[in-house]
């Protein structure tokens, strides 16, 4: 598969994965809802196409795209979202914590801005080991107001670490616009720490890939961190709860305009129609399999609810004092 086809396939996979996941939310099969990535697929696809399997990423609450683009198995991913023991995290993490350490995916994260320092620490570990691995941290426009992330820019720049910061500017942090939230510009924040920063069209996977390739090459060569601001539009809700509790913060015209630049079409028209249709069909089959697998998979045994609480296997006391007799 050509690079362009690969980009399209990844995006198509994410798009359809999200659409199927939303159906499963509405059907009550995915509890807690999800933060749909629809509209931003080109960012995950473009960046991850510049990465190796052993490179590391950290993701966000809106993480499905990154996790899939970095190579996690969509089948086990969907099993995770539906809370099955066959899921990537054994059903322990769900949408906001999906991780696949075998693929360098250090997890989605429920706390905005939290992944940056984690990725930067992983990048440092690579340097310490003498490896040329890089780490990428994805985050939203809301995250550039988080202190820990700003602190992290300093550490990354100071120590010239191979980390790529990818800010997905979708114009909103939930309901708050970037203009209401960000004084100055987003790229200026990185530049203030001496981190080279570029702004790219986050609806164009090829453009994102180009920028990411530069940044990754610089990182591998010891040139330090980079920053990419990728602008895109979030087509769907901040979170699927919006599907019920319709909150108004985006004008219909704005949404329509945003949706008109569909990253799948932008890349799709670069492919010939048959190839595109073939990929679409493949993805469809894969997702049918994923849904079937997820819904057929066993639910985890409540007796193991706190399995893995400690890596060492330590077991704390339970909540009902079952040890009473034993100890007394």
């Amino acid at each position: 598969m050509s690079v362009g086809e690969g980009l399209y396939r990844t995006m198509r996979l994410i798009r359809r994965f999200e659409e199927r996941a939303i159906e499963l939310v509405h059907a009550g099969e995915i509890i807690g809802g999800i933060h749909p990535y629809i509209g931003q697929e080109a960012i995950a696809a473009g960046v991850c196409a510049a990465l190796r399997d052993d490179d590391v990423i950290t993701s966000t609450h809106r993480g499905h795209g990154h996790v899939l683009a970095k190579g996690a198995d969509p089948v086990r991913m969907l099993a995770e979202l539906t809370g099955r023991s066959t899921g990537l995290n054994g059903g322990r993490g769900g949408s906001m914590h999906a991780a696949d350490f075998g693929k360098g995916i250090y997890g989605a994260n429920g706390i905005v801005g939290a992944g940056g320092a984690i990725a930067t620490g992983a990048a440092w570990a690579a340097v310490k080991e003498g490896s040329d691995r890089v780490a990428v941290s994805f985050f939203g426009d809301g995250a550039v107001n988080q202190g820990v992330l700003l602190e992290t820019f300093n550490l990354a720049a100071l120590w010239r670490l191979p980390v790529l910061f990818v800010c997905e500017n979708n114009g909103y942090a939930t309901t708050l616009t970037v203009a209401q939230a960000v004084a100055g510009s987003i790229t200026a924040r990185a530049e203030a720490f001496g981190i080279p920063a570029v702004s790219v069209d986050g609806a164009d996977a090829a453009a994102v890939l180009n920028a990411a390739r530069d940044a990754v090459a610089r990182g591998r060569a010891g040139g330090g961190p980079s920053f990419i601001e990728a602008t895109a539009y979030r087509f769907d809700a901040h979170h699927t709860w919006e599907h019920k509790a319709r909150v108004r913060y985006r004008a219909d015209e704005e949404v329509a305009a945003g949706r008109s630049r569909d990253p799948l079409d932008i890349q799709g028209v670069r492919l010939d129609a048959d190839t595109r249709a073939g990929i679409d069909a493949d993805v469809e089959a894969l997702l049918a399999e994923a849904v079937a697998f997820a819904l057929d998979s066993p639910r985890p045994d409540p007796a193991g609810a706190l399995d893995h609480l400690y890596a060492t296997g330590l077991r704390g006391r339970d909540g009902v004092g079952l040890l009473d007799t034993a100890v007394r």
């Binding site: 995915i30 509890i31 807690g32 809802g33 995770e80 809370g83 099955r84 023991s85 995290n89 059903g91 322990r92 993490g93 769900g94 949408s95 906001m96 914590h97 994260n109 429920g110 706390i111 905005v112 801005g113 809301g142 995250a143 107001n145 988080q146 202190g147 942090a173 939930t174 309901t175 708050l176 209401q180 939230a181 960000v182 509790a245 909150v247 108004r248 913060y249 639910r299 985890p300 045994d301 409540p302 007796a303 193991g304 609810a305 706190l306 609480l309 400690y310 704390g316 006391r317 339970d318 909540g319 009902v320 004092g321 009473d324």
Partner: protein, 324 residues
Amino acid sequence: MARLSYLKALQRALADEMARDSSVCVLGEDIGVGVNNVTTGLLAKHGPLRVVDTPLSEQAFTSFATGAALAGQRPVIEFQIPSLLFLVFEQIANQAHKFSLMTGGQAKVPVTYFVPGSGSRSGWAGQHSDHPYGLFAHVGVKTVVPATPEDAYGLFLTAIRDDDPVVLFAPAGSLGVRGDVDLAALGPVPLGVGRVHREGTDVTVVAVGHLVQAALAVAEQLADQISVEVFDPRTLYPFDWDGLAASVAKTGRLVVIDDSNRMCGIAGEILATAAEQMRLTVPPKRVTRPDGAVLPFARELDLAVQPQQDQLLTAVQEVYKSSR
């Protein structure tokens, strides 16, 4: 009498207090639109100088509120997730809480921090399901967990009027609770005064937040065998030790149900204080989350980690049957 939900009671308390006192202002994320349905309509009514939609800078806006409070304002901050209180723990425990003593009484910090939807909201997983009220009680920040609509109203009002920092947890499991209330009679509820929801003579059950409903259900279930008194502390710190002592003096038996981690939690404190200071006729029990619990995502696992009504029932029966 009107039917009032817990969530609407919070909304009403904030609206009333903002209307009454122009130094009251509210800060938080998405509060203009009001995604959590507590701040609904306030921006339109009071404008952006009193309803401040903040960027995702919890630490800064928390200490910003401290500064505003020191300068005479009475800020209220909405946090979308209980674990965001971890993020601002320094700002609350080390700054806001310490100003009064460290300045020798020159300063006061009347800020209210509230979380609409604390504890598990099934399916929100490990980082969105904490119940960290014990942390605030330990450091000595006033800590409030209302269980009913009228207490949600009254305690929120009191928290806002209090001259010290106060953290209010509104458990996710409580937001939908409805009650028949006399709207005209709604008013402040003092901190540090518990409430006996049901009288009984055999076993005192202390229940925190949304578990008050579970305790009442258990009391009802057991009504023909065991007379259960249901005590709702309402504020965890300061705690109504006298109220609890009066109940335990009657029953001599104590069970606590609390949706936070066992170790060093509020349930442990209640047992400890009772053991030190009250006349327990048999060993007390607590039903809590396990030690160090992190709530797993899958529904079965999530539920398995939270204290359950049937566990409380068993504990009450055991305590009732046991003897030294």
